[in-house]
Subunit: 283 residues, 4 copies
């Protein structure tokens, strides 16, 4: 059984040893270990992908939670095989509703075999969308739209989320949050072609480069690394000379981006692709 374990703590001493000891004691075979440090942040993180005898899985979560409690680590255990039939999604939004709406419709229509367990927003703009589709809504932003990352992760834990979908969620997840849900569980929609146009205004930048092709990219988030290697799906459209930037953006936002996110999430949920040593590979 394929299992992902993540651990986040304040230093790299004592982060790896107790977890690795416990896992190998349970008969786990280690497929991948990654450790990260953020010395400026005093933040250390570890990701393990292991093969575990299926009968050990049930006990693993409480056992590692206990180790985490003792060692003051934030530990998570997850298997893509646990809830294989209908994984549970958290859909994070800010202003734009189109990608989230497309995703909710694709779930409703059976195109995506998953459950929209919760919707989160640092802005209230997509709240009515959640109500329309009968999905729990939580605001995770203050009056200025500053997001409470710890609340976001706590809600994902509480709702037993498999995948976090950033549907034009316009905040940067903190490294700590990213590592807590590392291993191919955070899916972002970027409204430009990666790796060429990585910034906050990819339509403007491609337009300023006088490109005629515009695109969107659905990718896993792996915060230490640029997103080029984690592309799940890309889609593009081509415009004519003289088309105004506003019209290009509208076409991208209303048509291309929603398509891109739905197809990307579908591939992940159907387990057509997976993250393997920071790279997306076909299964």
């Amino acid at each position: 059984m394929q299992v992902v374990v993540t651990a986040v703590g304040p230093d790299n001493r004592g982060l790896a040893d107790p977890i690795i000891h416990h896992l190998t004691g349970q008969g786990a075979n280690i497929a991948e270990i990654q450790m990260y440090d953020h010395d400026e942040l005093s933040l250390f993180a570890m990701l393990l992908r292991i093969d575990l005898p299926a009968e050990s899985f049930a006990g693993l979560r409480p056992q590692l939670a206990e180790i985490g409690r003792l060692k003051r680590l934030s530990v998570r255990v997850w298997s893509p095989e646990e809830r294989r039939q209908r994984p549970r999604l958290a859909i994070c939004t800010t202003f734009r509703p189109e990608p989230a709406l497309a995703l909710l419709r694709a779930i409703r229509d059976g195109q995506i075999q998953a459950d929209a367990a919760v919707m989160l927003g640092n802005r209230p703009h997509c709240r009515s969308l959640a109500e329309q589709f009968g999905v729990d809504w939580h605001s995770i932003g203050d009056d200025q739209g500053v997001a409470d990352d710890e609340q976001l992760i706590a809600l994902c834990d509480q709702y037993e989320i498999d995948y976090l979908i950033l549907a034009r969620y316009m905040r940067i997840l903190s490294p700590a949050s990213c590592w807590k849900y590392a291993g191919g569980r955070i899916i972002n929609l970027h409204h430009g072609l990666l790796p060429s146009f990585p910034g906050m205004r990819p339509y403007h930048e491609a337009f300023a480069s006088r490109m005629l092709t515009f695109g969107a990219t659905c990718h896993f988030i792996v915060p230490e690394l640029d997103a080029g290697n984690q592309i799940i799906y890309q889609s593009t459209f081509t415009v004519s000379h003289g088309m105004k930037l506003d019209d290009i953006i509208r076409r991208g936002q209303e048509d291309n981006e929603p398509h891109c996110l739905v197809e990307g999430v579908r591939r992940v949920v159907n387990r057509e692709v997976q993250l393997h040593f920071h790279r997306v590979v076909a299964r």
Copy 2:
């Protein structure tokens, strides 16, 4: 009548004055002047776009040729309106036949309203294509494929070419050649998305960036400037994870690139776009 005059000479003294004097004496209104120097090459170039009374056009070419002879400048006069119904194309090739073939077919089928006046190659690989379509063929390369740029330009002059089409022609035109046919007369097919992947191996580079979207770009050549601003048309295709690079290249070469070139040439021949101060604009 819109007229483009180009002049190339060995220094910038005396390049501009006689030509500008003559043109303004003929009642020309100057819409654009660009001068360039390549001090390392001792090469100076000037481009003028002017509006000329139609009755002055016939005499202008011999008059400027005479000035060029006296001042030892290489001067060319061209109007996109002169041969508006069926402009004459030179199709330059190296190895790959697909884009040239697609262009010849599009001309034959009336999709592109132009004449394939001559085919040029620094390699013999596309010669049979010229024979098949009854187009004159000239080899402009030596045994190593090194192209004779002066012969290329002389042939374009001799065949009274309106547009030079670089159909996967894998040699760099010298700056002197580019300026002799400046003003939106040299159209290149680049086998990658510009400006993101400008090099000689754009498929490999996009693949190494693990992109899923690949593309081609049809653009005017303006040698002093990067090609980003001169894009005529772009087309893309998207692949799945695990598709091999060879298969991607094959799909790009056999399908996407020919389409991109044909559509780009069509837009130029139909005068849907034009070059205006180094930028492509819709007419």
Copy 3:
């Protein structure tokens, strides 16, 4: 006599002809013409570098001013040879005083053979510096620090400025302003190594790239083009691992940047370098 003429107007029709006619009628030889359009801004600009018989220079300015008045063009005539002994500088500032202070000291001490004719600021922070050195001060910013570009240019005209020195002036000059003083008259201090670190936070970016070398660049401003080709002088310093960003910035601001600007201005004032077809060349 080497003369630079700039003209800025609302369209490209009628911009070039009257000025070129007049200049060639005065016996000018044209060394360089550049025309620019900014179609989004409805702004057209032209730069001429000419050689003029010295006796024609005195009359040229009022004659072209009259043409400008008739044709509604903003025309300027300037010669680096007119005030060769002591060119007049305008020093533009925002917050940081160090580069301006170093420049004023270098002028006072005879290291730079020029006059500080006026100091301009979009913020009041350097006003006392102007008072200390007895230089006229004008505020060109509103309460938010938004600069009035037209006032800036009007003051430069009024003070008969030869060179505009942007001494950590943190506003972007409008294209119209840049072209009015085109031809190598606007000198900027950028607080990073160009072309590698062009942004607003070059120290932060070089630090994030974990470079140990930091630098500053003194360059002419030519707004259509990136600044790589217009570098007058660069200076660098190297730090040790663990040096804090704040300390690096302090060292750059207090030591390296002032040195870089003073040496760059000295080279221009002494006419050791000049702008030639958008490139800095040694004289």
Copy 4:
């Protein structure tokens, strides 16, 4: 005692488990684990930095060698503390002798407290340098200069090398070789400023960008990652307009590069810096 263990093998199954089991059984505390895969190459690598009771170190090398033999892994054990007084260097060269010469002189003069244990070259050009300083020389290249990477590593093993110094060694080390000596043991001299000018011709590229500042970078090699994060030392020099590229290159090669390499190696040998989670940090 700080110990670095590297293991390279043909797949990621079974790579980590036996080594980690053994190390934790010996009382090692794990400070860092990194695993890499190169699926195209069927190459998997692991790096461990551990703290080990000093008394366990002596036995560790034969024990892990035995595990490597059984599991068909290439395993290496190294401690920067083992030969702290005089680490042993392998100096790899191709054509240019200056950096190697400067290093040999700095060792001879006591500026660098290390031993030049062996010199390796894929070209014979630096052989006489080895003879002059009485250092063993091995040719690792064929007639075309193609390097035998396995021989290079075998010689480093045989000579019990602590640090591999690439002194303008113009071949790319294979990923397998890099990982065999991972953990801050391979030091490269790049003849340009990283990360701005990473290519094979950094002088030409900086010159083409019309920079006036040129530099060199001494850095650790970590092949999966760009070299920006592994900079040990950088040094620069500034030239005047009109200085010819050949003269700039000569000044860089004869003066700046040798200085850069010597200072970089000195910092590593003196353990002023070390590699920590892919980043150079001061000790």
